[in-house]
Amino acid sequence: MVIEQKIRDYILENYLFTDDQSVLNNNDSFLDKGIIDSTGILEVIYFIEEEFAIRVNDEDMIPENLDSINNIVTFIEQKQRVA
């Protein structure tokens, strides 16, 4: 829950400019909903790397890892298990 809430708060603050939790579902596609664009995702990656001390490699930059809160949480947990 901690990872999820941190990601959620970051997205809400930096891309939706609100603290209303109800506007974003955990399985909403950032791409399909136009929430984040191609440079925004780089900022998300930077945030993830800094906040969770993991490395997002170029080949990790795929929708399955990054395109929703759920996907990011699963990705981070996998990375942390491997580390």
Partner: protein
Amino acid sequence: MFYSMVQRVPEADAIIHGESRVTYEKLWNLSCSVAQYLNQQGMQKDERVSILLENSAEYVAIYYGAQAAGGVAVGLNTAAKARDLENWIRHCGATWLFANESHPELLKLLQRLDNNVKIIILGKNNNIETGNDWNSIVNIDASNFSLSKLDNPNTAATIIYTSGTTGSPKGVTLSHKNLVSNIQSILAYLKLSKNDRILNVLPFYYTYGNSVLHTHLSVGGSIILENSMMYPNRILEKIVNEKVTGFSGVPSTFALLLGRTNLRDYDLSSVRYMTQAGGPMPPAKIRQLMDNIPHIKFFVMYGQTEASARLTYLPPEQLFNKIGSIGKPIPGVEIEIRDEYDNIVCGREIGEICARGNNIMLGYWEDMDATNKVIKNGWLHTGDLAHQDADGYIYIDGRSSEMIKTGANRISPKEIEEIITEIPQVQEAVVVGVPDEILGQIIKAVIVIRQNNVLKKLDVQSYCKNNLADYKVPKIIEFTNEIPKTSSGKIQRFKLQ
């Protein structure tokens, strides 16, 4: 030009989008159905048909169908908010709107529009009742349709809005002759053929994407659509899988590819050419790209919407000799570098790029004043400062205006300032572009808060997001007691950058 390809390569793929492959014949039939529908509904010549759709075969069919019916196609920026969209539709007096039901601003937009705009909604759910059914339109028999309404190449074919929604939006109005002239010039140097398959990430509602669309469909080539650069590895996978021969981008497109992929991991042998426009690409990035894919022809290009897209190109064989240059005029275009008195400058002196040719716009829609400020005696004054070397190659030295160029978008600071100033707690706001490695520039707002008021960064960004396209929301916000000005009161923007 598209119709001649329909006759030559009817079974070739025109538009590929995900799993969908639309042939030239099918695209033509769909366009004719749209045109027939508009005629049946009594559309008059030169009526404006606005289109609010992402890049898709449907977008293309409506665009060409509107023109075939004698109308003017107006592609709308899908990232814009309802307020902007309404302003553009009203400004050009559009009487038609084709829109996707899933557009997040659609319901708000429909509430703002007058009843004289006929609405056609595309989508699966049919939740919005407008009385005009897309599914019926696509089945209209248009086998007897003729292109008789396309009888005057000098009439308006399309309007492209470049900036500014508050106050006076600028609708660049291009004729059929403008578009055809520019297509023919571009084909002459890109040497496109029916064997070319371009992967397109550029929006059709902007001039660069619009140009990619027309040039490739004019030779029987295929356009593979990807509507986002968010996952650049997926772009490269698609280039490999679809055996793509061409790719076009703005500097931020290539920055993403170079920064977040390893190009050498992909077999890009099918790629014959890449083109780059939409702002200066750092020479170091050009070298890095060519180190990774040395076999391609890389075309640096320059232009403006007001020029139907293209004004100059740098021949690939000169890329390293003349790196940093935007090249020389394309066929059919004349360029002069002029000083503030409209005289041609000498030698390497810096002046304004001025251009003449059949590709120069008819003007800004219903705005002779703005048109006359940029087109003087048939010459387009671009607002870009440049000089020429001894061989006649042109190098950009900057812009003479305050426009912010971020990614592929050209933004007027004024329109963002006007929005921010609507916030009650704001006394004054100035918006400038500051350098960014990926985007070229990002937007910074400097704000003076009214005395005894409180305002947070999130409040400003939230208000901007609700009223402007997302890419216009300032990334940097500073609060200050005073905006720097000259003794005559002119804002000194350079001190804020």
